[in-house]
């Protein structure tokens, strides 16, 4: 059964199958993907700052948050997708016949679904956010199932380190490139690559349209985030550069004024 420890899988929250079966399904689906050369996507999801929430509201609150979050994730998945809970309150999601573009959209959908949940804890309404590590592989990739899960974990860690409430995509074997926005080509080397590509793009367009309003609201009101450490994130408009320069100058003047005062005190 490979190196993935069966004991890592816990109860799948009322799912029909036990943890071992779910892992077996995922492995079987992965094998099928290799054999029939279709693309797959694997995500590891975690609710952000869960330990802190537990410190504040207790263990029961943590369990309640996880239960609701998993239910929300299920609601945001397709019937054919597989979900399993890992230890450490992380969730593994496996999407078969799914390319990187759709994978990213599905990961965003899962993240958004968790973010929409509200919890009444100690008389206060709180909301949570989630981070998602996404790894996608082309049809026929030789990447093992365990390696995929490990890569998705890497993506999750990067998303968390960048402040959470985001997904980080990693193409198998090309972690760095994917982070900089060059995902692996759709369906490359696979059967009916063009058709897969067309369908992927059509689906992506439809999903974008559906999420358009929500995305606009998110951009306008987003808790402004701890930003990812990519060169893209550092790019800014000339207007912002000018603002930065002005703030810097104002602070430098403030400091110079203070230093001047200190010097005159010394002289006195």
């Amino acid at each position: 059964m490979g190196t993935l420890d069966l004991a890592r899988f816990e109860d799948a929250d009322g799912g029909l199958f036990g943890p071992a079966e779910i892992e077996r399904f995922m492995r079987a689906e992965h094998e099928r993907a290799r054999r029939y050369r279709f693309p797959i996507v694997c995500c590891v999801v975690a609710v952000d700052r869960l330990d802190q929430l537990q410190d504040l509201y207790g263990v029961e609150a943590r369990a309640e948050i996880m239960k609701t979050a998993v239910r929300a994730m299920r609601g945001a998945m397709r019937d054919s997708d597989l979900l399993a809970r890992l230890s450490g309150d992380q969730v593994l999601i496996f999407y078969a016949h799914t390319g990187p573009h759709t994978g990213a959209l599905l990961a965003e959908r899962v993240r958004t679904a968790v973010k929409k949940q509200r919890f009444d804890l100690d008389g206060r309404t709180i909301k949570v956010a989630a981070s998602v590590g996404v790894v996608s592989v082309e049809g026929g990739s030789s990447e093992s199932f365990d390696a995929l899960v490990a890569l998705a974990h890497d993506g999750l860690r990067m998303a968390q380190k960048a402040g959470g409430d985001r997904h980080v995509e990693i193409g198998s074997g090309t972690t760095q490139e994917s982070l900089e926005g060059t995902p692996a080509p759709l369906g490359a080397g696979g059967v009916d690559a063009d058709q897969v590509d067309k369908l992927e793009r059509r689906l992506a367009r439809l999903m974008s349209l559906l999420d358009d309003t929500e995305a606009a609201l998110r951009r306008a009101h987003a808790p402004v985030a701890p930003v990812a450490a990519t060169s893209e994130a550092r790019e800014m408009s000339e207007q912002k550069r000018e603002l930065m320069r002005n703030i810097f100058e104002a602070n430098r003047e403030l400091r110079q004024h203070r230093d001047g005062e200190d010097e005159s005190e010394l002289t006195t």
Partner: protein, 344 residues
């Protein structure tokens, strides 16, 4: 790999140093807020009982009888007149604590942007800088309403109304750094509501005993300007006996007392703006800060704007408590490294 670089890079912080609450948003994802109270044990017995040299926030309030309690900020700046040096010490400790709660790694550089009231004096700004310098490698100040707008990426033709406890800061954004003429600071804020409510309760609730803190708690629970607001029934001691009072109308009156002052400020900033863009500006009024959580306040201000200016649209930001800190964090992150280095 970029994740390794991120871990060893500086920790960026956005801090909203408020009269009532101090919040931090950090680039490692930590977000914390503490009530802006600092307490020091009154004597050796208190020190032994509490087991700490300094207490912060709710813990300080809960143990206030054993503490010398300080609320080091007034009107959004460090109090330097009454008990000046003690307040400066308390503010320094408060900043140190909020930075500690952002969990920097050992040896990690910390770069912080702190929001200050739009019209804080030079002296006040320097006091904040001095208090922060002990705990960070480099620090910058920026106007609080500006940081809210920056965080939301709304830098053009937006009017930000940041309602804090000590001050309400209004700032119009028009794509450049706001100047003095673009900003107004008034004291029609949370503390003003508390004062009016205390006055009304003293007049109308015969014999009721209460403190400023109790009134603040009541306000935070019931604050509303809605015509049909839920009844505000509170129990206050009368000669030691808890007695129920209906203070619904008093809460509403107190909360509404800040509206005319805020609308005056908005009107002034709109009227002195380029006439071609006035309509756009009054259609983009953003409410931020803890005071914006008064129920119905956005509609009340909108209604007043429509009466006075013919039109107006007011939107409350999604995260009033963290709006300033989030924006300051974004600024800190966007600030080029060489600027941070030069200000060390």
């Amino acid at each position: 790999m970029s994740n390794v670089q991120a871990a060893s890079g500086p920790l960026y912080l956005g801090i909203d140093l408020g009269t009532s609450r101090t919040s931090v948003a950090a680039s490692n994802g930590v977000r914390e807020t503490i009530v802006s109270y600092v307490g020091y044990p009154k004597d050796a017995i208190a020190s032994k009982k509490l087991g700490k040299d300094v207490l912060y926030g709710d813990e300080a309030i809960a143990n206030r009888l054993s503490l010398k309690l300080y609320r080091p900020l007034a009107h959004g700046v460090i109090q330097t007149d009454h008990e000046g040096s003690e307040n400066v010490r308390a503010a320094t400790d408060l900043i140190k604590e909020i930075i500690k709660r952002a969990r920097p790694l050992p040896g990690q550089k910390v770069y912080a942007v702190i929001g200050a009231p739009a019209q804080a004096s030079l002296h006040n700004k320097q006091a904040i800088l001095d208090a922060a310098r002990e705990s960070v490698n480099s620090v910058m100040l920026c106007s609080e309403p500006f940081s809210v707008a920056y965080g939301l990426d709304m830098l053009d033709d937006v009017l930000v109304v940041d309602i804090g406890a000590g001050t309400t800061d209004l700032c119009r954004m028009h794509g450049t750094m706001p100047e003095d003429a673009d900003q107004i600071t008034s004291t029609f804020a949370g503390d003003h509501v508390d004062a009016v409510l205390m006055d009304l309760i003293s007049k109308h609730c015969q014999g009721a005993q209460f403190t400023k803190e109790m009134v603040k708690t009541i306000k935070e629970k019931h604050a509303s300007v809605l015509d049909q607001m839920p009844a505000a029934l509170v129990k206050l001691p009368v000669a030691g006996k808890p007695t129920e009072f209906d203070i619904t109308e008093h809460v509403k009156t107190a909360c509404r007392s800040i509206v005319p002052g805020i609308v005056d400020g908005i009107q002034h900033l709109v009227a002195s703006f380029d006439p071609e863009f006035q309509d756009r500006l009054k259609g983009r009024v953003l409410l931020a800060g803890g005071g914006s959580m008064i129920r119905g306040l956005d509609h009340e201000i909108e209604k007043a704007l429509q009466e006075r200016l013919g039109s107006g649209r007011v939107v409350r930001i999604e995260e009033p408590i963290y709006g300033g800190a989030n924006g300051a964090l974004k600024l800190a992150f966007d600030m080029p490294t060489e600027y941070w280095e030069q200000l060390k």
